[in-house]
């Protein structure tokens, strides 16, 4: 069976270029169902394994505030692609890693492509790729999309990641004792709704509920766990 790979990243990181490199230029362009956001899909065969690659809209974060972000996030949550390639601009790690952290929370099976690696080097950056990989607990591949450097390695790592499937990620952003406890309580409440916890990463959903994310609130609103969550929140407020 083909591996399903999604490509995501901030705007202007060379995402489309990498997508085109991976599929060799033959993209099928359509629209996301019911949305005006463009949807691009393509195929690539690497070492005898077929990969179906999908290009997600470029976003800085994964809130429910814009259609682009919702489309990207719903695809990852609902379609659960085997691997998500997170394209990161090496010359602007700070901003780009924000999306990476959110993808980790979504419990996606992430591979980082450290793109524009040449530009970062020219600017005088030295990035410790292994250390970054270790700290985040996910594979990291340096790439230069314009010269197709690192593309074969990227495909290798994607294949490997797909085989290993999701394992529990090492890094979990701690939001401080007070919030962590609250997140855990809400997470437990959500887990009582089996259907919900099968569909969504429960910690992510708990965080989104606390962030008053509109979509997350809608999801919880329909669930049997709503009552308990409201109680927890009221308790917090005292």
């Amino acid at each position: 069976m083909a591996i399903r790979v999604a490509v995501i990243g901030n705007p202007n990181v060379g995402k489309t270029l990498i997508f085109n490199n991976l599929i060799g230029g033959k993209a099928h362009v359509g629209n996301w169902p019911g949305k005006t956001v463009e949807k691009k899909e393509g195929k690539c065969v690497h070492k005898g394994v077929e990969m179906k690659i999908i290009d997600l809209p470029g976003t800085y974060s994964l809130t429910a505030n814009s259609i682009d972000e919702l489309v990207a996030r719903n695809y990852i949550v609902e379609e659960k692609p085997d691997v998500v390639i997170d394209i990161v601009d090496s010359s602007n790690l700070e901003r780009n890693l924000y999306l990476t952290l959110q993808l980790l929370e979504l419990e996606a099976n992430i591979v980082i492509a450290l793109n524009k690696f040449d530009i970062a080097r020219d600017l005088g950056y030295e990035i410790d790729v292994n250390e970054l990989s270790k700290l985040l607990g996910i594979p990291v591949v340096p790439t230069v999309a314009t010269t197709k450097e690192g593309m074969e390695e990227l495909k290798d790592v994607v294949l490997k990641a797909a085989r290993e499937k999701r394992k529990k990620r090492k890094i979990e952003v701690s939001y401080g004792k007070k919030f962590d406890e609250l997140i855990l309580k809400i997470q437990r409440a959500i887990e009582k709704d089996e259907e919900l916890s099968k569909k969504y990463p429960t910690r992510w959903l708990a965080i989104k509920v606390l962030e008053a994310d509109e979509e997350a609130l809608k999801i919880v609103d329909r669930s049997t766990c709503k009552h308990e969550i409201v109680n927890q929140l009221l308790e917090m407020k005292g």
Partner: protein
Amino acid sequence: MREILGEDAEVAFAERRYAVISEILPKVLKGAKPLTRSDMLDKALLNKYLGIPIFLALWWALFRFTFDVSAPFSDLIDMFFSWLGETTSGAIANEQIASFLSDGIFGGLGGVLVFLPPIFFLFLGLAILEDSGYLARAAFVADRIMYKLGLHGKSFIPMLIGFGCNIPGIMATRTIDREEDRILTILVNPLMSCSARLPVYILVGGAVLGGYAAAGVYSMYILGIALAVLMALLFRRVIPYFKGKPSPFILELPMYAKPTLRNTLIHMWERGVLFLKKAGTIIFLGIIVVWLLSSYPWNAVHVEGEFLLENSYLAMFGKTIEPIFRPLGFNWMGAVALFFGFIAKEIVVGTFATLFGLQAEEAEEVIPALKSSGIFTPVTGLAFMAFTLIYLPCIATIGVIYRETNSWKWTLFTVIYELMLAYVVAMAIVWIGGLLGYA
């Protein structure tokens, strides 16, 4: 659930994520980032404390530039219309046609067109700020304040453009993602004092405020900003549709660039030409209507070589609507000017120019004529300026508001709230002026 949650968690969570990133970064990132010139500029321009004073200073410089540089050009246009008026009235025997051409067309239109240079220079200055990459930074600096005020950071540029003209300002709201934020920005955009209102301030302020004329003009801009902010806050609180907070603002700062002459001129021309088009169509027609109404019935108005404006159709109409404006201290002339001003605010000036039966030879004399007519005191003059600022966007702006909100409800809402606000503010000015002992 929304109500219990508030917005603390979202901000706290975002901060924590950045904290985690800044813990990771030093471990994986080596090599000091070399400071480019762009970075150094940003350090100053985006500085927490310096950013806003720098913006205000640049904005002030822009206005000085606009007024100082454009003055000689305005004089040139004035001279041109003087020559045109003299030549035509001298060449035409028929008294009615001569009056129509010199008082109506050249007087009214000339009175409006002298403001062409300041408008073009304002747009030139804006184009330079925009093309150099500064305007995006100004939006960034302003976001912190805008967010607190319930507006979106991206609302800032549409508001800035609104100082030129509200129409492109309203169209620029398309960059705002959330529909609620966008509509809110559209609703308050007409309060940004556009360049069409400037002639009115200069005219009325120059006539009645004496040495405080410049301060009066600046105060109108500040008043517009303050009201926009207040209204935005109010709408956010009171109208359920706008409840909630603006979505977070992420802006990719463009590289600094030396503006190219060609692009800057194109930018200036594209915006400035809208004023020219307006002058040639709507303002032109409005002035003709005002001239017709103020010159007829011909025999009642022109008695034995004297011009009796009091007998004109315009005076009859003006006196009918005058009671509405009487609490504000405006007489029928002010009422008529405001009435026609909703077509385009420049017509307020054009109306006064025609009303005083001025010959085109001295378009600059509208100010002394208005002064000696005594229809405004300093206080009612200020109230008139404020009323002009707030009362109604022009017809074209109303059209764009409808097109961009796609809703008669919001369009009508804008018209009504601005009328009410204008009345209340003008009344407040008159009332406070009275309390302070000015009449």
